[in-house]
Subunit: 474 residues, 2 copies
């Protein structure tokens, strides 16, 4: 393939770098080029993106600014609103076309929370490290709920107890199975208790639910997450407790099954609030109405700044655009970064984006979502039809030159699901997931857990994939 | 393949687990089994090793004990000697056959060290964070060397300066190229200045050499490493300075090229000392004279406990043996863990092991060395002939079930090189190398940088590979 013949316009940095027989700021590393079937030009483009990215590690600077300027970005919060303004300003300053699209978000506020273990006289003997689940109703009155604690390890065990748990606090103590290599599978199995457990307990008359934090580590950080109330059942208060406290509470219950707990949550569900998806793009030079979408979600939980979940995905999308621009690439199709709002409370941002009237004149050919943390990219996943994967597989060696093992089936995410249903091919890199759930939805999800280089590699891979999709179509 | 037909003896834990249609402590995860060409039994064995390993994360406990009991393990030091005793005792308690094999080690001690920048009147205006290179000679007398600092970024630049650097301190300020995805390649290019630089400078009459630390990060930790003196040239003192100080010193030199430095190093090369390789094994049930070797090196630099380099490799070898034993596997051939001594000062342990009279009645069929840190294993490398790789490639799906991308060319290491020259096939997992050189040979190589789960995955992969090699031969 010849660059000019394909209509790829090379300007500025990249053009001079290619003319000089190399890429900017670093020698080409793709020593496997001779074995590759992929057109040589994508190797040169990949080298340019890689050199620019790894030299500057700008994704980390973007993330650092985001968490410093905003902080924890719970949907509907003033902090989330300031993050919207901040990310739009950042993209304005980079010279992208930017705008906001409105989305209505659930507005939940945490309030005060405590859980105290009481002896038979009602005196406090210990307290638990807890965090109300997102969306939880509060405990009643000012004195909360005081009740027995009934521990269960499965839904079947709960169903076996039936109405005997009436007015009790049901304690779901199902550890995340750390023997799985696939931590996302282990997470899915355990998170079910957080999402469905409270309503299952309410169905039997329970007064409240405590959930063992969904993390493979034993520590004193509660990991929150959304509770999924069954509309047919009364809503009961629900909170996560740290895994250390789950182990300790379980041990206490074995000695004294009748111990009581006082639970107080003053969280509240306020009126839904208007927030926004933040959008920036580089308009396509030939087919501007065809869109290659890059995305993360801008909202986070409130226990930390959401550096990995999903500050990382947001800044990778912006950095991918910046890399494309910095390397002087002029994509044929439009490459667009969307920072969705409200993923954590039901992904309304993704739904509203797909339903927005602005989509009428657009065709999304590809959608990528980075929402598995800013860790080392392991491979590139392409979903949709086998033909789409075959088309990308032709460029596998280029992805390998960036350290990925290759191209496999994969891609998707909750925010891009609606646009994928409209025909966009889901794709994206799959990062190392071994440590993500150590920090997920907890106070541990802070900037110091992100490695600038691994974060940047994700942005580079996204830039490459987006540019190839823009040039080749799908 | 049938387990009994192949003579694999299954006992205890694994046998009951297989009889129950699963593996101990966790369900089988290898959902790709139906697509695999590999014999089903290795999937079951892999599941058993994985469940036992990821549930207990015992490699981390071994590492924690090692660094707590010993500490930094410079060859020849009392701490290294106590580490030898400790690791042998650990393997004794696990019930392995253990012994020590002597090896003579270079015994270098650090002493005091300082580097001060002086103004024109000889008054100190700043000090540099330095660390003498391993094996460096001391500065003369009690007042050290006071001289101009001449910065160079390449060997060619030094040669261009020639005898004009006589009696100066040559400052090699060649950054590690962080635009390479392959950090080991970037390390190799930059570490050349640490290894060869001092003698190249001495050839032009320089009084001493300062080396920019070989790390891609900018921080205030010096990263040491061995200096490789050219026997034909006078030995001059050599030290690494932190990358922060390298940047600052370079900026100062641009303003004031005539600034002077006082360098004092009281390090010393003592008489060589006798130390030992630590060996433990599970004797083969059918071919005990054929050896599958697993290894790491027990010595470390003295600036930290060497948690990744190479405490990780040592405990992974021991843990691999423990996993094989805990799963009730009885290998046909002998599986041996060797903790080599003195890798950091020239790999005498590996040479002496290969030359030991005990090797006469043994045939090493496979040699694995884990010395790239206890990070996530990415793929499994098999060296030697294409036939050896083909033989292992038949089991690729089993390795994939442990999260590896597959089997590729690779394997090797400085300690196993001599035994590989005698015919052993080098192999081993290649871990994520993106962050290794952040901490390599510096005060940052501490236990808290190791993730228990990623460390354990390496041990599981080694156990699987060793067991397959033991059963199948090569």
């Amino acid at each position: 393939m010849n660059l000019k013949a394909k209509g790829i316009l090379l300007t500025g940095l990249l053009l001079s770098a290619l003319a000089a027989g190399g890429c900017p700021n670093g020698g080409p590393e793709s020593g496997t080029r001779k074995e590759a079937d992929a057109p040589v030009s994508y190797f040169e483009i990949s080298d340019a993106l890689r050199s620019e990215g790894l030299r500057k590690e700008n994704a980390y600077a973007l993330l650092s600014d985001l968490v410093r300027v905003s902080g924890p970005r719970l949907p509907g919060s003033p902090v989330a609103a300031s993050a919207v303004e901040h990310m739009r300003r950042v993209m304005d300053e980079l010279g992208f076309e930017t705008w906001l699209e409105p989305t209505s978000v659930q507005h939940w506020v945490r309030g005060e929370e405590s859980a105290e273990i009481l002896d038979q006289t009602g005196r406090k003997i210990d307290s638990l490290t807890i965090s109300a689940l997102g969306g939880s109703v509060p405990t009643p009155g000012s004195r909360g709920i005081t009740a027995r604690v009934i521990e269960v390890a499965s839904m079947a065990e709960l169903d076996g107890l039936g109405p005997s748990v009436r007015d009790d606090v049901v304690f779901f103590n199902r550890p995340m199975d750390r023997t799985f290599v696939d931590t996302f599978r282990a997470y899915g199995e355990a998170a079910r208790f957080r999402f469905e457990g409270p309503s299952k307990a309410a169905r039997h008359g329970a007064a409240a639910a405590l959930i063992r934090s969904v993390t493979p580590r034993i520590d004193d950080f509660p990991h929150t997450g959304m509770v999924g109330y069954d509309p047919a059942v009364v809503k009961i208060p629900a909170a996560a407790i740290s895994t250390e406290d789950a182990e300790a509470l379980s041990a206490r219950l074995k000695k004294n099954p009748s111990l009581r707990l006082n639970l107080r949550l003053s969280c509240a569900n306020l009126e839904p609030t208007l927030s926004a998806n933040v959008i920036g793009q580089i308009r396509g030079s030939v087919e501007p109405g065809e869109i290659v979408l890059l995305s993360g979600h801008l909202d986070s939980w409130d226990l930390a700044v959401g550096a990995h979940d999903d500050g990382a995905g947001c800044v990778q999308a912006v950095e991918a655009l910046r890399l494309i621009q910095a390397c002087g690439l002029k994509p044929r199709r439009t490459i667009r970064a969307v920072m969705f709002m409200n993923e954590e409370f039901g992904a309304s941002g993704g739904r509203d984006y797909a339903a927005d009237p602005g989509r009428k004149n657009e065709k999304h050919i590809v959608a990528m979502e980075s929402d598995r943390g800013g860790f080392l990219p392991l491979y590139f996943g392409v979903g949709g039809s086998p033909e789409a994967r075959e088309k990308f597989a032709a460029h596998e060696e280029v992805f390998r030159s960036l350290g990925l093992s290759g191209i496999r089936a994969g891609g998707g995410g909750s925010d891009i699901e609606p646009i994928v249903r409209q025909g966009a091919v889901p794709m994206g890199f799959i990062p190392n997931g071994q440590t993500y759930f150590d920090l997920h939805h907890s106070g541990l999800d802070t900037l110091d857990k992100v490695h600038p280089r691994e974060l940047e590699l994700g942005a580079i891979v996204l830039a490459l994939a987006a540019f190839i999709a823009s040039e080749e179509g799908i």
